[in-house]
């Protein structure tokens, strides 16, 4: 058996096993990591097919961007907060498996019986090497024939950015943008006077609790914490700065910052 066939079978086996792992894993984080493994192997297969640039893009975009994003969301979102998509009743599982098996048969038949009706192109390995390699050849193709979809894909990404901002921005934050966005100065000694806090009150998730106008802040979960917070609000001033050379006392009513 030639070595490239051997390598292909190795890569393919890992790919399929990892893909199976994505579907079977109970923990979504395990799924994501199986997916990373699968994508790395697909990138290696791209190299075997002479698509070096795509292999790099595959690793940078898929594993570097998309899956890191997925992992971030997995960490940020409490899985209990998410509804389940559809009830996976046994019937539905059976239908899913059946559809998969049918499609596998069809695709298998198509692969084994296919004939190519089109003509061969001129991007033979020799020609690709003549223009300088895969990246150059892809670039020529992309910036001539596919110039228009290339421009439209930039709009697709722009829509993705706009959509992510519109949907993921908390509503209250969106309303406050432009009015007053205070940031806690970690460098200022009085801005982070954790020592003054009652014990056990270092805020949810380790944040320093910031006093904000009532109703403007999400309700804390524990009732004890809420009481303690209001007590804190009565006794404590927190220094916040809008930018590096300005200080504002929030809640104290006095403005100790330079204007």
């Amino acid at each position: 058996m030639p070595w490239d066939v051997l390598v292909f079978y190795l890569l393919a086996a890992v790919c399929v096993l990892a893909a199976g792992g994505v579907v079977v894993a109970t923990n979504p984080v395990h799924s994501a990591i199986f997916l990373v493994l699968c994508f790395f192997n697909v990138a290696a297969v791209f190299v075997m097919l002479g698509a070096e640039f795509l292999a790099a893009v595959q690793i940078i975009v898929y594993t570097g961007a998309i899956l890191v994003l997925v992992l971030f969301v997995l960490m940020l979102v409490d899985p209990d907060d998410l509804p389940e998509f559809h009830a996976a009743r046994p019937v539905q599982r059976a239908v899913g498996v059946l559809l998969g098996a049918i499609l596998l048969l069809e695709v298998g038949a198509a692969i084994l019986n296919r004939t190519v009706v089109g003509q061969q192109g001129n991007a033979t390995p020799a020609n690709v090497a003549a223009v300088g390699g895969n990246v150059q050849a892809l670039g020529r193709n992309l910036y001539t024939q596919y110039l228009l979809p290339f421009e439209i894909v930039s709009l697709v990404l722009l829509v993705g950015v706009v959509g992510a901002i519109v949907l993921a921005l908390p509503e209250r934050l969106g309303e406050r943008v432009g009015q007053r966005r205070a940031t806690i100065s970690l460098g200022h000694p009085r801005g982070t006077d954790v020592a003054a806090l009652p014990p056990g009150l270092d805020g949810p998730d380790g944040e320093t609790p910031v006093r904000v106008a009532s109703g403007d802040r999400p309700v804390a979960t524990g009732s004890g914490r809420r009481e303690a917070t209001s007590e804190l609000e009565a006794t404590r001033e927190l220094i916040m700065v809008r930018d590096a050379d300005e200080r504002t006392v929030v809640g104290g009513g006095r403005d100790s910052g330079r204007s």
Binding site: A110, R114, Q119, A123, N141, Y146, P149, V159, V162, V166
Partner: protein
């Protein structure tokens, strides 16, 4: 293909003026939103949107009667482009009229700048699909249009239903996209090209008029039809439709019941008729079965709905079925069988195109009346329509016009459109065509039940409570214009509109010339 870099043809920007106008509109909105005081947003951005879409619609005449391509054949300005762009731009104009005050006042004041920007990008994506000359363009255009629509669906994010509907729409939408693009990959694998005319040419050479059964192309056909079926909400790929339509803000529902559907039909016509036309025997029966199942299911389930928005969602599924009948009776009277001298398009596809236009006016109209009632503190159930005729006779009259048109009562535009589809189905002279024509008539009778129920509730029930007064001038103008168009376009100008739709077949003449030579 490795292209020689010397003597590259430059793009012909003059060919794509309407599309550029919408692109410019999106940029103006994006920057206007960023640099304008919040108080002016509403009026200025609405005005800019109306002017922009109006300008783009007016610029369509520069593409009329042309049959040219630019950007290496990826962008085509032909009869199909012009008619579908007209439908999409009219839908965009009407959506702006319906949505302006809704977005500004209801659902906790959604950010109107982003709303218009996403609307413009969705419209641009649909326009690009209509003008696509390549598989990649179809894919990218559909994605641009759908991504913006997913976000618009979730726009009323204070309501859980909106976000849930959007999530369902999104997950099934990207699932469908993956299936669609897998089908496109197989088409590319069989023909070695992504160019629609090139695919048709390769298939024509391979078939040479004989019986043709290439398994990989059949697989590709199946996958693309499943993918596009999801996008156009055909049964059995419709699961997302009721929840997404019901969850979204009403103007968004009006928009997504028309523009993504028009984009999906544009992609279907481009793919099946233009590229895979030589193997039409393989897909005609599949589309016919889907058309029947879709209209039967939509009509039967709509009967059980008491929520008017949900009822309209199922009715839009039924209308998808009527439109698919036009595609299912495609039999190529014009096009490349005649050999270059195409005089008229195929009646089936022409009737499909005319139906989309009619559906645009009457369906957005019906949703507009629902939005009009929501402005006045009413809900979405049938009971909220009780006694509307005694308190607001004009709104009730407009809703009656739209519902009668959706039902297909003369002299409305809905009747004319349905008549054209039935005529095309009968003229196809096949058993399937005849069966489809009969089922349209029977199922229209079924649909009378749920459309007329709303009319009856409006006219014969006692009003539950008096609605609050609210001033929505732009929405009123929009509803009035749509009601007048629904009433009159079926009688006047319908000949011209059908002629315009009939020019779609010129999209195929390029193939005719090339195919005749090879």
């Amino acid at each position: 293909m490795l292209v020689e870099l010397s003597n590259l043809p430059g793009p012909d920007w003059g060919l794509m003026l309407p599309q550029l106008a919408v692109f410019g509109l999106a940029l103006v909105l994006l920057f206007g939103d960023a640099f304008m005081a919040r108080a002016q947003h509403f009026r200025v951005l609405t005005g800019v949107s109306l002017v922009g879409y109006g300008l783009a619609t007016a610029l369509l005449w520069t593409q009329d009667g042309r049959n040219e391509a630019t950007f290496f054949g990826l962008f085509r300005a032909d009869g199909l482009t012009v008619f579908l762009s007209l439908v999409i731009l009219v839908a965009a104009l009407l959506t702006v009229m319906v949505s302006a005050s809704y977005v500004d006042r209801l659902e906790g004041r959604m950010p109107i700048g982003e709303f218009y920007v996403l609307l413009a990008f969705s419209v641009l994506g649909a326009l690009m699909v209509a003008a696509a000359g390549d598989l990649v363009m179809i894919f990218v255009g559909i994605e641009l249009s759908s991504l913006a629509t997913y976000i618009l669906t979730a726009f009323a994010k204070r309501r859980l239903g909106a976000v849930e509907g959007a999530l369902k729409y999104f997950l099934l939408g990207i699932f469908a996209s993956a299936i669609l693009v897998y089908g496109m990959a197989w088409i590319y694998g069989a023909t070695g090209t992504t160019d629609l005319d090139g695919i048709a040419r390769a298939l024509q050479t391979a078939t040479a008029g004989d019986e043709f059964l290439e398994p990989s192309l059949l697989l590709a056909l199946l996958l693309t039809i499943v993918g596009l079926g999801f996008k156009m909400a055909a049964v059995p790929f419709h699961f997302w439709t009721p929840d997404a339509y019901d969850g979204a803000a009403t103007p968004v529902t009006a928009f997504m019941s028309v523009v993504p559907k028009a984009a999906a039909f544009a992609a279907t016509i481009r793919l099946l008729v233009q590229a895979l036309g030589p193997m039409r025997d393989d897909w005609l029966n599949l589309i016919a079965v889907l058309a029947f199942v879709t209209m039967a299911f939509g009509n039967v389930v709509a009967v059980a709905q008491r929520n008017v928005k949900r009822m309209l969602a199922y009715s839009s599924i039924a209308h998808t079925g009527y439109m698919m009948v036009g595609l299912a009776v495609y039999r190529q009277q014009g096009g490349f069988d005649v050999g270059g001298g195409a005089t008229g398009g195929d009646q089936g596809v022409t009737s499909l195109l005319y139906y989309i236009l009619a559906y645009t006016v009457m369906n957005i109209g019906a949703f507009a009346v629902v939005a009009w009632l929501q402005h006045r503190g009413r809900g979405l159930t049938l009971d909220d329509f009780a006694g509307l005729a005694s308190t607001q006779p004009l709104a009730a009259a407009a809703m009656t016009v739209f519902l009668l048109s959706l039902m297909g009562i003369p002299p409305t535009i809905g009747f004319r459109a349905k008549y054209e589809v039935i005529l095309a189905a009968i003229n196809a002279d096949t058993a399937a065509g005849l069966a489809l024509a009969i089922s349209i008539v029977v199922l229209s009778a079924v649909s009378a039940f749920y459309y007329l129920r709303v009319v009856a509730v409006m006219y014969f029930d006692e009003p539950a409570r008096t609605p609050r007064t609210e001033s929505t001038p732009l929405l009123n103008v929009g509803i009035g214009a749509m009601a007048v168009a629904t009433l009159l376009l079926g009688v006047f100008f319908s000949g011209q509109l059908i002629d315009l739709a009939d020019r779609w077949s010129r999209a195929l003449t390029v193939v005719a010339q090339a195919g005749g030579g090879g």
